[in-house]
Symmetry: C2
Subunit: 224 residues, 2 copies
């Protein structure tokens, strides 16, 4: 039986590996969409199975450690946190596949006559995912806070894309479906960012023992 | 110290109580929207705090039991399942608040000139939430399967609403924002249904030890 510290390292490694896979899938999903790259689209679909396998392994490892070690408060919060975070990561993988489904549809369609901020939004979301996991592994509340701050930037990009699409829908009835598609893709990316934010909030809860989850957000006509 | 069986009953009770609260919030959020009922909207916002409290209590209870009892495989899966399901329930509460934010915006706006299936969709989602928890507590895979089946009905209603709204957006540019709002509300309800489906899949995994999570769904131009 390996010492607890080593097992924790191996759990951290598994979470970061899963995070890297998820971040790669997000990147490829956005590239598949923006550059109409079919290979990337297929890779995202293929990697979802690996992400799902990771989820099961991490659940098993965390549960085994809880039972075997009856860890003290801090480590216990860490292990329960791993189970929760794991769920978030797997859901992000699902979202990436969802984006890819739209990418397949759009492979043979013409683009909207404008630059849409998906590349920028995707890059920021990827970095939020990786940073949230780094914060978890390092038990670093400050790093976690930076993820929560980035979420505001995501909301802004999402709002900008939505407003652009509303304009198109009003001016060009024939573009309604395509513009709506883009609104919904922006929402998918936003949902991935929400999961990263959830992870960051779990980290702060774990480190400081205070609950910053469930922030109340102000209403906004097009932010929901 | 109470016997394990009694503690399990108390955990079940807490999950079902949380589920009832969440189902009530979904119901009230839809009523707030459809009937422009402001009282309901405020109650949903108020009850979110209670739902968040429930989440923390259930995490604590499940973790304590895992440590204290080192349960055998079946009970262990149940306790880890409780932690995962708990997260889903809390997220549903967030979605209900999101719907209510739209309801506040729409209180003083005129309705779209058509019947939208939110009441029907909301009722089905509520019943999926309650049934998924019943299935978990009873460890009943067949009941869980019925929730997964209902998810297809949700997708159909969501598609119908989306198509209706696309028609409106094409015909009435001045209605674009309002119609888009309705598309996004339908997505919120669908996301709640997705969480109920996640719970149902966890139940089947727990009971049968097989993984039905992560079903691949076929692409569809407006279903994402």
């Amino acid at each position: 039986m390996r010492p607890f510290e080593e097992e924790l390292k191996s759990l951290n490694g598994a979470l970061q590996e899963m995070g890297a896979l998820v971040a790669q899938s997000i990147h490829r999903a956005v590239m598949a969409l923006v550059e109409k790259n079919e290979d990337y689209a297929h890779q995202v679909v293929r990697d979802e199975a690996r992400i799902n396998q990771c989820e099961i392994q991490i659940d098993d490892l965390a549960t085994t450690l809880i039972v075997r070690e009856s860890p003290v408060a801090g480590d216990m919060r860490f292990l329960v946190g791993a189970i929760k975070i794991n769920t978030d990561l797997e859901r992000m993988g699902d979202m990436a596949v969802g984006i890819v489904e739209r990418a397949f549809t759009s492979l043979h369609q013409s683009d909207l006559p404008m630059e849409v901020g998906f590349t920028e939004m995707g890059n920021l979301v990827e970095s939020m995912v990786l940073t949230s996991l780094d914060a978890f592994v390092a038990r670093d509340a400050k790093l976690a806070q930076s993820v929560i701050t980035s979420d505001d930037a995501i909301d802004k990009i999402r709002n900008t894309i939505t407003r652009q699409m509303i304009d198109i829908m009003k001016k060009e009835p024939s573009m309604v479906e395509r513009a709506l598609d883009y609104v919904l893709i922006a929402r998918r990316l936003e949902r991935i960012a929400d999961h990263a934010t959830n992870i960051a909030e779990d980290v702060i809860f774990m480190v400081k023992g205070i609950d910053v989850r469930h922030r109340v957000t102000a209403g906004n006509p097009i932010s929901q």
